[in-house]
Assembly symmetry: D2
Homo-oligomer: 337 residues x 4
């Protein structure tokens, strides 16, 4: 049994992690941590867990966590993450970090987009970006996984096959992305109130969303070229799911059937990628770890439609997928399909 701790246990990604891990035959959840006062049983924060797990949600420091756990899922906000991860690693824990703190290779880029100087710069060079489908051989042996962002995975998985084969221009790629509200987290804010979001559709962070540099960095790695995307996020009145509509420019005409074949080859053997002929909806992959994608043309304009569940394949699901790879378990173990 791998002893597992979850930090930031009061949030939505943590709830999904707990639910998945309760079904994992080789995991024992041994610690749940949050800044919450008192040490309430976790079901007081997440009533859906009532009767499922008897753990309190405690305010634990790194040493206490390392005493109890072999691996830590760190679901803290950025900055908070990089202030505890070094101690966890030093204490002998392996870490899957769901924040953005170890995703961007260049500390200057991090500081520009996140507004804080990075305090653990050396480790940016050794952390492993955890998106198994694009081939990151370092995952099994990694001690620190930078778990990717939800918009990021949607965009990267949708574009990787085309960029890897050099079929599209690496710049001027338009990504029009739409997300359910759970992606905005569980901290009470005016703009995520029910009466603000419901019956409303809106664009936000136009030109300024932090997943843009992450998409560009990882896709740059995929193709070995400088990639530039225009990423525009929108908020959809629904709980979960991301759909990205992506407009790349093909270098030269390629038939739709050939492109779909290419995608199927590129993702051959990847159990969570579904290249489909029909137009996928967010509901098709909701509550699963699947990534769904298809392609269409409007005149000569290629259009990619890609979906995933932001809390699962976009956060907690891929985190457990990385975990499975780190410990040699089957990649799909415990993950909802």
């Amino acid at each position: 049994m791998v002893r597992v701790a979850i930090l930031g246990a009061s949030g939505y990604a943590a709830l999904e992690l707990i639910k998945i891990l309760l079904n994992h035959p080789h995991v024992e959840i041994t610690a749940l941590a949050t800044r919450q006062e008192g040490s309430p049983p976790i079901h007081q924060l997440h009533p859906s867990l009532y009767g499922r797990i008897n753990l309190a949600c405690e305010d634990l420091n790194a040493r206490q966590i390392c005493d109890r756990a072999d691996l830590v899922f760190c679901a803290l906000p950025h900055v908070a993450s990089m202030s505890i991860v070094p101690e966890l690693l030093a204490g002998g824990c392996r870490v899957v970090d769901l924040s953005a703190d170890y995703r961007l290779r260049d500390p200057a880029v991090y500081e520009k987009w996140y507004g804080h100087a990075h305090t653990d710069i050396e480790r940016l060079k050794t952390s492993i970006y955890g998106l198994p489908e694009i081939g990151t051989p370092g995952i099994p042996a990694a001690n620190l996984i930078a778990n990717p962002g939800c918009y990021t995975s949607t965009s990267i998985l949708a574009l990787a096959p085309l960029l890897a084969r050099d079929l599209i221009e690496p710049t001027g790629i338009l990504i029009d992305a739409k997300s359910g509200v759970s992606g905005a987290g569980r901290a009470p804010k005016l703009n995520t109130l029910y009466s603000e979001c419901n019956e409303s559709f809106s664009a936000y962070s136009v030109g300024t969303h932090r997943h843009q540099p992450e998409i560009e960095q990882v896709l740059g790695d995929v193709c070995g070229q400088h990639v530039e995307v225009t990423f525009t996020p929108h908020l959809v009145p629904m709980d979960r799911g991301i759909l990205a509509t992506i407009y790349p420019r093909l270098r030269q005409p390629v038939p739709q059937a050939e492109l779909l074949k290419l995608y199927r080859e590129y993702y051959s053997g990847k159990p969570f990628v579904r290249v489909c002929d029909h137009l996928p909806t967010t509901k098709d992959s909701a509550h699963t770890n699947f990534f769904d994608v298809t392609l269409r043309f409007n005149r000569n304009q290629l259009i990619i439609i890609a979906c995933l569940d932001n809390l699962l394949k976009g956060a907690a699901g891929v985190a457990v997928q990385n975990f499975n790879l780190m410990y040699g378990f089957p990649e799909t173990m415990a993950l909802p399909m």
Copy 2:
């Protein structure tokens, strides 16, 4: 032109007040107040007002308000209301108070349910409860209207005809009420976040909701007897609307058709009450000032189904209806139907 001020301008009821009053031919909105810092234009708080009104939302004291307005709609939280209303009245303003502060006649009841000692006890005797359909002759001459609660109006209007004619037992009345989320206000709280409310239906404040004593008091006035209700509120994943399913006990059998006739007579000449044969839905009266009601039987059990829009007939709409009566304007003026 009546010069009107609105206090608590950042909330949902205030937004509806502003929208209604912008259509009122005899009203000029002259002041919008809130505790907000700076003095932002009102459209920064309510973007839907962009281009419709050029007023800042200011932090004004009673004297400043009285200088600018003849009548004040006070959409502040309870306690805040009774700390400014006396000054507004002293300064010469008439007041329609949307809070609960002047609704309960007995200060001990107020203190028990609201957790604060009442600080303006004398005025509880002279404030006028503003539900025009149950006949409150004091409204036109009133200087202080206690505007009723949303659940309260739904329940009272649904039961008044039966109690007024002594057709049902005045105790043991079950009111199972369901409300859209806007009734919970606009202050960010965990339990009104989109991702908490959406795809969820829940009961809350079971046995402890503050509208219960208000319903009992006003219905007691209607029938001259001691009334006891069991009021159970629920939260519905929708913006607006209340539906109450009410189970009274008939003293003796009365046919459904006769009861509907009774309701139609009781509310004869009331422009906002619709006694209907079909089962009304909240959507039928949403965005209007209507109250819809019908009756059914299940074996011998009478069931009343009643609906209204919690922000309009349940708050801002009835407030303007009271305003119209106070100034001798047609009762329906500017009110959405």
Copy 3:
């Protein structure tokens, strides 16, 4: 491996059955049937199944089904069910019938509420009502399980402990029930269109809903008395979940804590029942096979709040629970928690 067929495969309950059974280690789905023309792959009807199962949805007769399957989940509409179940049983299949056709013991009651004469009256005496938590010893050996209705299970499980101990009056029980829209099925109808249901809450079938006699029959069995309930269903703008607010009349006062203790004892050892102290929401049990219940008082009026997922514990989940019991598998096998 148990070979399983699913009839009525195009509906929502069937989709849930397929998803659950794909995770069941002892089940092979061998046939999916519907009246659909052509024999489309099931993922054309349910795109979320893309890549998960390679079966066509065929128009099969009873003999063809019996050739392929050991057990049939019959998710057909009422009437359709009783016209094929006798042949399936004669052909050697065991059947879990999700329709209402074998739930009501008295064919006259069936005819009154469903508007069709029953055509398989003899079998009404031998079918087993499949609600494991209220103790139906016949389930393991049954060849025909009448799988209970969703509103029905919510109501029965909420009331059974009180009736079994004779703590409440068996008549005059008020059940105010609220359901998500998926309970209305997948056949296109005006009143289940998005734009009709969304932002609307409504009562329907007041005094005429078919689950009322089923609730009364089964609760009558539980307590050995004639039970009468007033059942009022409502439609909630959400996908899934039922919450029932139930108002029974206690024969004599019993403290809340004692009642909760009674519930916990009554459901001791039942893995899918959660007696909780907090007020459960439909979201807590959505996507699981749990039934959640708690109790409150308003003055002396007892109020029961009970929730389940109408498609799982209310339909497909309990069906697989029955299946597990029929074949001696662990009761919780493959069922989402």
Copy 4:
């Protein structure tokens, strides 16, 4: 008083027309027509109209309509519209046609996208496209207004200022549009069921949506050049509202402030256009006749965000706006703001 008939009275656009016209001081609604059997009162089809209008919904022929009305709002589906409009005009009625039948100038384009040969080709040359903000001087004198599509108006109003001033390339314009479900009409279909749309976001008709040629034609008229857009529609789980995110290519850099100034000049004096600095949401203009628009940059990529209510400014609202211009009433009369 202008006597007005509404055809296709059972749909959502007709409901909005009725509600607006009931507030119009110079309109008398004299006929409501639909293919419905019997002649039910209109409130049986639209319960929200209960108590507001006493008209039956009848199956009327053109002659009967012309006897009763001066002007007809034709809210029939395409093809049905062009089969009755010639008779209505011959009978002396003026017509505002909400279908697509008179919008496309070229009958071959109509036939290609709508799958039917056009049967009233001559009139395509004389019908007036009714989008007042882009300057169609023929509206006041028109006998037949082709009322624009909802996606179409959103896209045209968003792009017209840039194309009119030749600031962007007229081809390769990407329009990523998102609409609430009411745009899909009120006829029961699987893909507009609540349980299909709710908690789901999807693209549809990618590369094949009928509003694309309409957008291209009207924008071509605006700029005198051949315009080509890639139009991708999406379905949002909400009742009403369209938001379009539009990616044009500027011919040369222009600062954001200058572009906003240009928009404000272009739409100067247009009471329903709000050029705003903030990012508009669909909720800001829902239930109003406003069109909201702003601009942003991501690096050098210009992004336009535009919103309107698909049933009002996108259908019934602009129809009444055209009506007001046809009869010399103030453009804003009776229209919700």
